[in-house]
């Protein structure tokens, strides 16, 4: 049985996964159209797997923001695999490509850390960080809503005291998700807000505190120090906290996303990535680059601006979404 068949079967098995994969497909229509559409097109045009084929494959991957060095690695491995399996016909390489992609998505790691780790005793703290406009505040609203639906008692702390309207924006999300928001006035010390957030969450016996922070570009030393300080306040107040540090990345971002992931990790020990705006971009390839070069798992993806548009990252579903077209084509071929 081919790799795509296996994936397909897995999705036929249970309804819940099916729903997830449908949402992925819906959110990623454009991603799929260009990405796997192009690979299909490539396979159709090249009967033979030769140098030109690989050159064009390189193009497809690079235009998906996968990043030059990851692409080079990947294509190198594919070439070896083709040699090893003595593949000549381009249709046979489809499976190999998708298998390699899934391999990169998963890496070697323990699958359990792909989701939030909030099962410890006492108040669990999530710190949310990232560059300007990535989608931090929106993702916090969505996440609060999700955790609330899971029966958790959630509180938000308005740690962005800098940007105009940031506190009010989080308050609107607080109302939507029906969770309280701890805030100070604009211009006050973010660490003090977070401190108050912790105290309030403790006295109200909340399960989860989610801390918003101001957007900052990773090359601003002052601002990164400020963020490290916020984290230290949390650590001091609750041993073992923050339990999660989520880095929010805009999926339309190019290679700078890697620098972001690196620098924010250095400052705050990022435990997971939220990849936003995946509904808009034709790409998503940056996930590959991040997975290939850094050991941080993607935990959520943002697929729209609505409160329900945050999904747990599921590498299978993601790859299935990317390759659904290929699957459909296979069925057609089988029917002929």
């Amino acid at each position: 049985m081919g790799f795509m068949d296996k994936l397909k079967q897995r999705f036929k098995q249970d309804e819940e996964t099916k729903e997830v994969s449908e949402k992925y497909q819906e959110g990623m229509t454009k991603t799929r159209n260009t990405f796997s559409g192009k690979i299909n097109d490539l396979i159709a045009r090249y009967r033979k797997v030769d140098e030109d084929f690989f050159e064009e494959l390189e193009e497809v991957l690079i235009t998906a923001d996968v990043g030059v060095s990851t692409v080079m690695d990947l294509v190198e491995e594919l070439k070896m695999e083709v040699k090893r399996q003595k593949i000549k016909d381009s249709s046979e390489i489809k499976d190999v490509i998708s298998e390699k992609l899934v391999e990169i998505y998963y890496g070697e790691e323990d699958k359990s850390i792909q989701h939030l780790q909030l099962d410890g005793e006492g108040l669990q703290v999530i710190l949310v960080v990232g560059v300007n406009g990535a989608g931090k505040t929106t993702s916090i609203g969505k996440l609060a809503h999700q955790l609330k639906a899971d029966g958790k008692n959630v509180i938000l702390a308005a740690g962005d005291t800098f940007r105009a309207g940031a506190i009010e924006q989080l308050e609107v999300w607080g109302e939507r998700a029906n969770v309280p928001v701890i805030k100070h006035s604009e211009g006050s010390d973010p660490a003090a807000v977070i401190y108050d957030g912790i105290k309030a969450a403790q006295s109200r016996q909340a399960d989860v505190l989610i801390c918003d922070t101001a957007g900052r570009l990773q090359n601003k030393v002052n601002l990164m120090n400020e963020l490290a300080k916020v984290k230290r306040v949390i650590e001091r107040e609750i041993p073992g906290a923050p339990h999660e540090v989520l880095l929010v990345l805009d999926a339309t971002t190019g290679q700078n996303a890697l620098t972001q992931a690196r620098t924010f990790s250095e400052a705050t020990d990022v435990t997971g990535i939220v990849l936003t705006k995946l509904d808009g971009t034709a790409k998503g390839g940056i996930v590959l680059a991040i997975r290939n070069e850094l050991q941080i798992p993607v935990k959520f993806v943002g697929l729209g601006e609505g409160i329900d548009d945050l999904r747990k990252f599921d590498a299978d579903a993601f790859v299935y979404g990317l390759f659904a077209d290929l699957g459909i084509n296979e069925e057609k071929e089988e029917g002929e």
Binding site: G133, A164, G165, K283
Partner: protein, 448 residues
Amino acid sequence: MAFEGLADRLQGTIKKITGKGKVSEQDVKEMTREVRLALLEADVNFKVVKQLIARIKERAVGQEVMESLTPGQQVIKVVKDELTNLMGGEQSKIAVADRPPTVIMMVGLQGAGKTTTTGKLANHLRKKHNRNPLLVACDIYRPAAIKQLETLGTQLDMPVFSLGTEANPVDITKQAIAKAKEDHNDYVIIDTAGRLHVDENLMEELQQIKADVKPDEIFLVVDSMTGQDAVNVAESFNEQLDITGVVLTKLDGDTRGGAALSIKAVTDKPIKFAGMGEKLDQLEAFHPERMASRILGMGDVLSLIEKAQTNVDEKQAKELEEKMRTMSFTFDDFLEQMGQVRQMGPLDDLMAMIPGANKMKGLKNAQLDESQLTEVEAIIQSMTKKERQDPAIINGSRRKRIAKGSGTSVAAVNRLLKQFSEMKKMMKQMTNMQKGKKGKGGFKFPFM
């Protein structure tokens, strides 16, 4: 290895052809491979890279190696010229309508920086052109978007027009323009909601606003960190709205910003302004040539130099440069400089513009916190005149005395002394780069 500049990349190839009289086809082939990778790593769109490489090949083959330039510099020069040509000249003009108000509409993807840029443009129009703009809150979707613009309006002490979140954007703009006429606002800047270029309904909303108010300018606001998709975004907004210009935001970051090239290539619309920070005065005219060196990984040296020039008194600057070069820079000069440096803006903004500054030993851990400046000041003030002139004499017991006098620690004094000597070295390098430019054209980097 991810963000090597072109100069780094070309090093190997350059070594081989140094001493040759002509750049051969094989040399060019090897170099264009590196150029291609450098551009792709800088997020220039794939197709745009292809076109560029073709032109660069054509121009570079068979060229005589000019005396004043090393072959490496020459290739970089060809590449940089091509990039600069593609991006066009500097064009930070804003339209003026025959009959006021002039209407500017801001459009773009979510989180690109439209609202912030609306505030910055208004500030720019008032400061540089003595105008009196009205800001219009047309984002009825994003939570607290209106509040955000209103806050900016308060900060600027400028009027903001809004009809809440229930009115529709076409009505809001129409009424806003009527209000502007009434109140004699000569500019109207419309902040619209962020939207995906593939969202047909929301794109149609923009087309309706456009049809109704016929804006004099439609600025597409683009995040400079955008990847390969920048071409699709720009192409799509341009096709549907026929934009008149582009504002590139968040250029104060460390992204190479290849999106700039892609956007210009597919829309052929001028990039007019660059967003250089979150504050309302951090908007600058877009400089194509600087952008070209930035994409190639050559740092934003020119920006830094210009920034220093506008803030430092001309004569003082000359003296300073002399001191920097001769290394006779003292702690007294340092103290005097600190006042001026503070006027130049946040220190880490400045540092970010120096190529390789983050890699420089000693500087990487330099304390760039403004509050640290106060401590530094205290330490210098606790030095004797002689110590300030000649830091080499500051031995152990002097260090203890200075620490005590300034209420700091010996470690803090040591740190400052070390940084001071690193800084002197760096200054020397920087002034040499400046000199190199004046002399022959093109920077003299140590690796070229």
